[in-house]
């Protein structure tokens, strides 16, 4: 009997709410569409400007390009080396994020689930890094990286103007957030499975990699997304650490450089083309992976 009542009352409630929320629905769509326009129009406008001529860019902002000037893109690609910068960004972010996740999850796991003297101090040391403004450390950091470059054998791979050096710095600066977040996540995981594995004679290391890490997957995915975004968009660190060698620059450096360059060379159409090139792949990658990204991101953040 109860089974019969509940669906009926649900149906009733739904009907009732439709009555109440009906007009809201139209307004809802208006509000959502307004924000969609606010988000999309500047981006589309940039794409349009990227195929405009210099004259058109200096003319009315809402005019459409008379002809598609794809040579703007060619110029941005060739002269501004956008392709090279993009590859560099991908390499640095791939290694940086991998290292961050590996070392970050190791530290977070130990700090979250093992009691030992100094645990709290190490945890706080990591977490306090969340609040450190990076601008404070820039100059000394430069010398640290320079000194690393003087270490025998490995030095040439991790000194200044090396992607290796930048990767290590990215890892170090991503650790506070990663440890903070993952430690909280590891704490919420049930201990029963791990206990069982220990009883079966598994080592600590094996339990971590084969039991706990897979269990923490939602958290791992979401922190990975954060780190990819954060490292991809990083501008300040490469500016200081990858200075002299243009061929090693990452994408944000390239874009900022073109923006500065536009001040001198007045090649505004190439600026827009380069902007579009920086925007487009991110949008495509994001759209392809959006459901995973959103799932991972939210699964973790809600813990």
């Amino acid at each position: 009997m109860a089974d019969a009542v509940i669906p009926r009352s649900r149906a009733y409630a739904r009907e009732e709410r439709r009555r109440r929320l009906g007009p809201l629905s139209a307004l809802t769509h208006v509000a959502l569409l307004v924000w969609t326009v606010l988000v999309v129009v500047p981006i589309v406008w940039t794409f349009l400007a990227s195929v405009k001529s210099e004259d058109e860019i200096f003319g009315d902002a809402w005019s459409l390009p008379a002809t598609l000037r794809l040579d703007n893109w060619a110029r941005a690609w060739e002269q501004a080396h956008i392709g090279q910068y993009m590859v560099n960004s991908i390499v640095v972010v791939a290694f940086g994020t991998f290292g961050t996740m590996l070392f970050g999850s190791m530290a977070a796991y130990v700090l979250a689930r093992y009691r030992f003297r100094g645990n709290r101090a190490v945890y706080l040391l990591f977490v306090s890094g969340l609040a450190f403004p990076v601008y404070l450390a820039l100059t000394p950091l430069f010398f640290v990286v320079q000194n690393m470059g003087a270490i025998p054998v490995v030095g040439p791979y991790i000194g200044l103007n090396t992607h290796g050096g930048l990767v290590l710095v990215y890892i170090a600066y991503s650790l506070p957030f990663t440890v903070f977040f993952l430690a909280a996540f590891f704490r919420t995981l049930p201990g029963a499975v791990a206990e069982a594995a220990f009883v079966d004679g598994a080592s600590h290391t094996r339990v971590f990699f084969q039991v706990m890490l897979p269990m923490a997957r939602p958290g791992i995915v979401s922190v990975t997304v954060f780190n990819v975004l954060g490292q991809w968009n990083q501008y300040q660190l490469p500016l200081v650490l990858l200075t002299s060698d243009r061929e090693k620059w990452v994408l944000t450096q390239g874009i900022a450089d073109i923006s500065t360059a536009a001040g001198y060379d007045a090649d505004w159409s190439a600026l827009f083309a380069a902007l579009s090139m920086a925007i487009l792949p991110m949008l495509i990658v994001y759209t392809l992976f959006q459901s995973q990204i959103q799932k991972g991101l939210t699964a973790g953040a809600l813990k």
């Binding site: 649900r10 409630a13 709410r17 439709r18 109440r20 929320l21 629905s25 809802t28 509000a31 959502l32 606010l38 988000v39 500047p42 940039t46 200096f58 902002a61 809402w62 530290a107 796991y109 130990v110 093992y114 030992f116 190490v122 990591f126 890094g129 609040a131 450190f132 403004p133 601008y135 404070l136 450390a137 820039l138 100059t139 000394p140 640290v144 990286v145 290590l168 890892i171 170090a172 600066y173 440890v179 220990f198 080592s203 968009n233 501008y235 300040q236 944000t252 874009i255 902007l275 925007i279 991110m282 949008l283 990658v285 994001y286 759209t287 959006q290 991101l297 939210t298 953040a301 809600l302």
Partner: protein, 300 residues
């Protein structure tokens, strides 16, 4: 279970802690000591000047304007971003048919709203510089001029520029929190909405009585992220505004002043002193946020 435990703990911590000490802690610690010198970046031996930099900082009007801007951002960036994001998250999830289903096309909106988040801040800053242009080639001013109004100096009027910065920051941040809050709302059991609806709750009351309280934890997480972001604002101000924080310091923030003082005036000692102040602001905010967020969790 204790077999090799110590070795395991030490082994797992060794690399991350070493990296962290070398690349993060050591530079910061050095920065603290540089703050007590008049180092100009190129000379070998900085002179120890004690607290002189801090005394001078106390009288530095521009720096305190920057602090003021950061504090305004600290309040308004989270309030606006979270407010708008909550509104859209609610509409997306509960605004549809029957109040419990997602609105038609909610997946599409969630994807599109997130777009700004995947763009590098440097890219966004360059983009909005063009949007805000003060002549008829500016996206926003073109229609104003066409209609015969005076163009608005979005980035050139000292009264407006700061709000333009805030708008860009909100523009970029909202999408992320819409997704975050959407997931939070989605994880609220349907029955709670239904029960409230049976009790006669309308859209607004549903939101205030059910959605918001159950989302409170997530909102606080967002608040902390946005608060720290507000204290760290740099690239948008630096790349987008005239005079890097202008016009006439009307948009400057602490990070911009630190960067300018260090890398344009080469007063690394003085810049480090500013960094120390920013450091304490951020730490202060973090502690405050942690204190305030020690509220009871609503379990379901």
């Amino acid at each position: 279970m204790n077999h090799g435990r110590t070795r395991f703990v030490a082994g797992f911590l060794a690399v991350p802690v070493a990296l962290y000490l070398i690349y993060v802690i050591a530079p910061y610690a050095q920065a603290f000591s540089i703050a007590l010198t008049d180092w100009r970046g190129v000379n070998a031996s900085p002179r120890f000047v004690g607290l002189e930099n801090f005394r001078r900082l106390w009288d530095d009007d521009v720096f305190w304007r920057a602090v003021g801007h950061n504090l305004v951002l600290l309040v308004l960036l989270p309030v606006l971003t979270i407010g708008i994001a909550l509104f859209f998250a609610f509409l997306l999830n509960a605004g549809g048919r029957g109040g419990t289903e997602g609105v038609w096309g909610s997946r599409f909106y969630r994807v599109v709203f997130f777009f700004p988040q995947v763009l590098a801040v440097a890219v966004v800053a360059v983009l909005f510089q063009q949007v805000f242009r003060p002549d008829r080639s500016g996206m926003l001013n073109a229609p104003l001029i066409a209609l015969g109004f005076e163009p608005i100096g979005f980035l050139s009027s000292t009264d407006v520029a700061f709000w333009s910065i805030l708008a860009v920051l909100v523009w970029q941040a909202v999408g992320f929190y819409v997704v975050l809050f959407s997931a939070g709302i989605a994880s609220i059991p349907r029955e709670l909405f239904e029960a409230a609806a049976i009790d006669g709750a309308g859209g607004a009351r549903l939101f205030l009585r059910v959605t918001l309280p159950l989302l409170w934890d997530t909102v606080q997480v967002g608040w902390v992220y946005l608060g720290i972001a507000a204290l760290d604002v740099f690239a948008v101000v630096w790349v987008m505004t005239a005079e890097h924080g202008g016009p006439d310091h009307s948009t400057t923030v602490m990070a911009a002043e630190i960067y300018r003082t260090a890398f344009q005036y080469f007063k690394f000692g003085y810049a480090s002193a500013m960094g120390v102040v920013l450091f304490f602001f951020t730490i202060g905010f973090a502690i405050l946020a942690l204190r305030l967020s020690r509220r009871e969790r609503i379990e379901f």
